[in-house]
């Protein structure tokens, strides 16, 4: 229920109460003045009238400060005064009628409830008066005195209530309407948005302050003019009219439209605006009312916000790309680190896994017949036991290879997983990208993600980028490995795989490719028997690396062997090699080389040095020294260099060491230090060449390998005594070695040149037979032993094959040669083999000269 408004101000009530007191007092005084019976107590009435007037005066004086409850108290006080007056005037007067005044006042000015309380108080106080006076028929008196104002009061109350309700309706709505209009005007005028009302023809009917500010036209100028002529740009006018009419003709009572529009200001500048227009019914007339908002600022803010968002997105993208690029860089780094394909694969696979944040990553490589073999895997279930190769088109990996396209698979079936171990990982997402090199699928890289990770198309793009690098890296590694293998194979094949067996000469060689070097170097060495029983040692270093250097080594090696075999002196051999390099190779090609010829029989060493590091010679019991003499320019530097041959005595037991710079050269260190170290190690020994080589490498080559190739060759002339016993392989090539040994032995015994030649020839025939016999005996080695007593020598050649009867006119000459050249020839064929014992007396003039005890 709505609260009814108060009809009267409290001041009105107070004044009315004051009047009521004055009227009561006046009526009382009037009864005293007029003739009255003796039952009235005059003095008491005078006092009561005075009190009433005093209260009236008090109320009037305090009318602005009096409150509602004070009025109730005062009214009750009036009732009390009235009751005293009724008592003092006695039962003969009509004073009880005056109770009607207070009751009516209460009903008129107070609510129904308080009024009834006041009537109750009236009834109570009059009942007290009646009880004291004890008049006749007190009930009737009481009923009349209280019932009359009660009935009248209730009627008044009802009347006033109706009056109040009517006042509320009329006054309130009028005032509210007035207030509303004012408020609306205020709101519209203070609104930041323009508010415009148009009639059906588009004529402006209202135009607020914001419209004036926004569009430049005042309300006086705008109202009455067509909207489209004033502010709508020409190209929007048709649409403006259509939109307005459509809105007005809409069946909906409050049809509303919201749209963006460009508007023109008075100064013809344009701005973007946003309009909200509604159909409104103003006292039966249909109008269109619209708010227009200038959205220039908002558009700018929107643009700024968008720009900010773009900037943030760009930064995030840049960071992502940077992260990705660094991931890619890791891949490239892995590719550039020159290692084996296997190393690169396991590195790449781990890095790809990191870039994609995948659970498992695998790289498959294409083998022959379109099959993919697992190259490397990283992550969970990476330890796979030699999985089967995958055929193109089979399984996820095979399909990627066949389609040559990246593929993304979500929730793959177990059969699709690259290898069974992944089934335990609950792989939810797979990406496979083919590795392409020159249009060929060289492999497939696969990443797997376990739940809850799911790969996206973006991940696929990332993997594709990664795969490009991986493919490149693998391709490079394969090409490199192939080249490296070819070069290494070539170089290894150029180095003697087995040094010739030289009786009385212990030879050992080592070759160590550089640790970090991508390509094989041009270091090489060779050991070749020289006609006449000598041995040639070669140590060289061709400038450059890889295949070019290796092939140059090959040419030098075969040329040197050819020239040496023809019996050329060492200097002449080097001249020929220089001519080869100078005339037949590219400009700038050069090589250092030292060529040493050792003739153990003569106990002499001869060498020519073309710019190479000097060999180290250690004579038994002495200090090692470098053979500095005979050094000339490297091969390929001058067209006609002078190569000087130098010789030095080589005592039995002497040791020679040939090497390349890799053994002694260290970055940032003078080479003399390295050479001093070499001399130090050689001096300490051991003297046995194999052991010495191992020790030299262990002491001089840093752990993890030398920065450059190392080639090392050592030879020791083992002292030979009066007796010897050597085993030779049953091959024709062994004959030369055997002859070398015999020559050295015979020289040692003091035989003449002719004696040496004859004994060597005779024993050679026996050895030739031994080799031929072994042909049937499974290639078992033959044994040659010699002993000398005084001037008698005995050489025994023993084989383990089957004796063959010499054929007449051919090898039969062998036996006749033996008989002709030796004093005694004894052939002892047995089922196990044949022994030939050859004896001879030496008459050499210099006999015993060199034959001192060893």
């Amino acid at each position: 229920m709505r609260e009814l408004p108060e009809l009267f101000d409290v001041r009105v009530k107070a004044r009315s109460l004051a009047y009521l007191f004055v009227a009561g007092a006046g009526l009382g005084l009037l009864t005293l003045v007029l003739p009255h019976d003796d039952g009235i107590h005059d003095v008491q009435l005078w006092i009561l009238a005075g009190i009433a007037i005093a209260i009236a005066a008090l109320i009037y004086a305090q009318v602005d400060r009096v409150s509602e409850w004070q009025l109730h108290v005062l009214l009750a006080a009036g009732t009390t005064i009235l009751s005293f007056a009724n008592y003092y005037t006695g039962t003969s007067t009509l004073y009880p009628l005056l109770y009607t005044w207070t009751a009516l006042y209460a009903f008129y000015f107070f609510g129904l409830g308080p009024a009834l309380l006041h009537v109750g108080y009236i009834g109570l106080s009059y009942a007290v008066v009646l009880a004291i006076q004890d008049p006749a028929s007190p009930a009737i008196r009481w009923l009349l005195a209280v019932g009359t104002p009660l009935i009248a009061g209730l009627l008044i109350s009802r009347m006033l209530e109706t009056l109040r309700a009517e006042r509320l309706d009329s006054d309130d709505s009028a005032r509210a309407l007035r207030q509303n209009e004012a408020r609306t005007r205020l709101v519209l005028d203070s609104a930041p948005d323009a508010f415009v009302t148009l009639d059906r023809d588009g004529i402006i009917r209202s135009w607020n302050l914001a419209a004036e500010r926004m569009l430049g036209w005042s309300a006086a100028e705008a109202i009455g003019k067509p909207m489209h002529a004033l502010v709508i740009p020409p190209e929007f006018r048709d649409r403006h009219d259509q939109r307005r009419l459509a809105l007005m003709d809409s069946a909906e009572p409050f049809a509303t439209a919201h749209f963006d529009v460009d508007l023109e200001r008075r100064d013809s500048t344009r701005f973007p605006a946003e309009a909200t227009v509604s159909k409104v019914d103003v006292r039966g007339e249909i109008l269109v009312a619209g708010f227009i908002r200038d959205v220039t600022d908002r558009q700018r803010r929107q643009e700024e916000r968008e720009a900010l968002l773009r900037a943030q997105a760009a930064r995030a993208e840049a960071e992502r790309v940077a992260e990705m690029v660094s991931g890619m860089q890791l891949l490239v780094d892995a590719a550039l680190a020159h290692r084996t394909l296997g190393d690169i694969l396991s590195d790449l696979v781990a890095r790809v896994r990191g870039v994609l944040d995948a659970d498992t990553t695998a790289i498959y490589l294409t083998e022959e017949e379109d099959r993919l073999a697992l190259g490397a895997a990283s992550g969970g279930a990476a330890q796979i036991e030699d999985p089967e190769p995958i055929a193109f088109g089979h399984g996820f990996v095979g399909r990627v290879a066949e389609a040559r396209q990246p593929m993304l698979a979500q929730d793959p079936t177990p059969e699709e997983l690259p290898y069974p171990g992944l089934r335990e990982l609950e792989i939810d997402s797979l990406i496979g990208v083919p590795l392409l090199a020159e249009g060929e699928v060289t492999g497939v890289v696969v990443v797997c993600a376990a739940a809850p990770r799911h790969f996206t198309a973006e991940d696929m793009n990332l993997l594709r980028l990664a795969a490009d690098r991986v493919a490149l890296a693998i391709d490079h590694a394969r090409v490199y490995e192939r080249e490296h293998r070819i070069a290494e194979t070539l170089q290894r094949s150029l180095l003697p795989d087995r040094l010739p067996q030289l009786p009385g000469l212990a030879v050992a060689a080592r070759y160590r490719p550089a640790a970090a070097e991508a390509e094989v170097g041009g270091d090489w060495y060779d050991v070749l028997p020289i006609p006449g029983g000598g041995v040639g040692l070669v140590m060289g270093d061709v400038a450059g690396k890889g295949l070019a250097a290796a092939s140059m080594v090959g040419r030098l090696r075969s040329a040197l062997r050819a020239y040496a075999l023809e019996g050329h002196a060492p200097a002449r051999v080097l001249e020929q090699l220089n001519r080869l390099i100078w005339t037949e190779t590219d400009e700038g090609q050069m090589a250092t080389l030292i060529y040493v010829v050792i003739d153990p029989a003569e106990e002499e060493i001869r060498w020519v040095n073309a710019g190479h590091l000097p060999p180290l010679l250690l004579v038994d019991g002495g200090r090692p020294y470098f053979l500095e003499g005979g050094s000339s320019v490297p091969l390929g530097v001058l067209p006609f260099p002078d190569f000087e041959e130098v010789s030095a005595p080589m005592d039995p037991g002497a040791l020679i060491v040939l090497y390349t710079d890799g053994l002694v050269e260290r970055p940032g260190e003078h080479i003399d230090l390295g050479m001093d170290r070499l001399a130090g190690v050689v001096r300490e020994g051991p003297a046995e060449p194999q052991q010495l080589c191992d020790r030299l490498l262990a002491e001089l080559v840093p752990r993890g390998g030398a920065p450059d190739d190392v080639a090392l060759l050592t030879l020791r002339a083992v002292p030979i005594g009066d007796r010897f016993r050597v085993e030779f392989p049953a091959q024709p090539e062994a004959l030369s070695s055997m002859r070398g040994l015999l020559r050295r032995w015979l020289r040692h015994l003091g035989a003449t040149d002719q004696e040496v030649a004859e004994v060597v020839t005779g024993c050679g025939e026996a050895a030739t037979n031994a080799i031929e016999h072994a042909g049937a005996g499974g290639g078992a080695p033959f044994e040659v032993s010699g002993q000398a007593a005084d001037r008698e020598i005995e050489v025994t050649v023993r084989d383990f094959g089957a004796w063959r009867q010499p054929r007449e006119g051919d090898h039969g000459r062998g036996l006749s040669l033996m008989n002709a050249l030796m004093d005694t020839v004894e052939v002892l064929p047995t089922p196990e083999g044949t022994t030939v014992r050859l004896g001879r007396t030496l008459y050499g003039t210099d006999a015993n000269a060199n034959g001192g005890p060893e």
Binding site: P531, A562, E566, G567, V760, T768, D810, A820
Partner: protein, 120 residues
């Protein structure tokens, strides 16, 4: 493995000169013999095997020379051998009496002399 024998073939008019160097034993004898045989066309009048640079020869080398002598003889071509006296090769040739198969000369010039006179 290592072939210790060297061979140079030279044509002087109708005469083929084969210079054998190094050591001639069972390791290189037959291949050297084949190389020399192939180098002598049927049109050649004679072959001179120069052994002055040869440091060693054994029965295999001798057999090779005998083989050449037989082969040339059947084609009516002449074989001459050059070996310096006192050298090991010369000594071996004497032992096997090689001069019964072909003449042995002290120097190349001497060997060629007769041939060029005949040719001139």
């Amino acid at each position: 493995m290592t072939d210790l024998v060297g061979l140079e073939i030279e044509q002087r008019g109708e005469v083929i000169v084969a210079r054998v160097t190094g050591e001639l034993d069972i390791a290189g004898a037959s291949s050297t013999g084949e190389s020399i045989g192939e180098a002598v066309p049927t049109s050649a009048r004679a072959l001179v095997v120069d052994c002055t640079g040869l440091e060693f020869i054994d029965s295999s080398g001798i057999a090779m020379l005998f083989g050449l002598a037989r082969r040339l003889g059947s084609r009516r071509q002449e074989l001459r051998v050059v070996a310096r006296g006192g050298e090991p090769v010369s000594r071996v040739l004497e032992i096997v009496e090689f001069d019964r198969a072909a003449p042995v000369h002290e120097t190349l010039d001497e060997a060629l002399a007769g041939l060029s006179t005949d040719g001139g």
